[in-house]
Amino acid sequence: MSHMSLMLKAAAAAVVLMIAPQVAQAQSSSGITSEQAMAALRAVQAYAKNDGSDPSLAVIDRDGNTVLLLAGNNAAPHNLGLAQRKAFTANQFKMKSIEWRDRTKPGTPQASERETPNAIPLGGGVPIMVGNEVIGAVGVSGTKGGQEGDTAGAQAGADAAAALVKRLQAQN
């Protein structure tokens, strides 16, 4: 009997060992890579070139951790921090920060969501979407078009990053 249970334990251990690396792989591939973040940066810069602006931007992963930060050459001191908070907001609430701003207008039942630490009710944060999944976000601050312009710039960045993620998924 004890022989039997020992065999069972060994079999269970083998199964766990086989599963463990796969789980680890699945988790690491869900992060935003530096290549994807750089693609977002290039797209935001291309948008800014058309716009004649010099924005700051942040790319964060789904855990809210920083992947990339860039402060524009003539950025005001607040721009980078704002970009980070916009990205945080888009990732946290899984929508553009401009939509979240409108959803949490003063007087609405959702207004108190604005108390969330680090969130900010300003446009310029856009989630990086792969299908229906949010895998991170891009935040932009300092374009010429105000909150709408920042949103458009961040959208270009998020699309560029998502395109690389989709390409990677297609390869695998």
């Binding site: 890579t33 530096s34 951790n65 920083t66 992947v67 990339l68 930060l69 860039l70 402060a71 050459n73």
Partner: protein
Amino acid sequence: MQKLITGLAVGVVAIFVGSAGFALVQQMTKQFTLQSLGGNDISVEQALLVAQGAVDACKKDNSVITVAVVDHVGGVRFIVRGDGASPEMVDNARRKAYTARTFRQATSAWMERTAMDAKDEKGKLIDLYGQRLLENTIAQKGGMPIIWHNDAIGGVGVAGSKGGEEADEACAKAGVDAIADQLF
């Protein structure tokens, strides 16, 4: 009487010309002063080249590094996290860059100077350990200043290379070297 009027007129004109000239000189000096304050800062374009240089140097042993470039006041200009790096690497690299920028030297050299038992060439205790207690500094190798005209216009910090802090510093140096042609 006529002489007095002429004299007064000449005096008034002289005052006008004089004050106008003074204002002009003042204006020119002002512009000169403002101009000389601008420009001594690392640009986005330079920061990206520095980071790329560091990443490329560290690729030789397949290291995946996190790089931070700070500007002339120690603020973040650019940071990119290495794939799979732990989240705190970002702040680690930033603090290396900040330390190199603010003390205008490689963090390795700063560590030697600020060690508890560091002595000068005459054998006297330097006792700069207190600098290590400043916010945002870090006593780790891997930070290099970006020097232009004897002034630090920025700093670069590298964290997470396979060769440890020595390799971090070599990669940071390679990053600065990537824009050596612009640093005279």
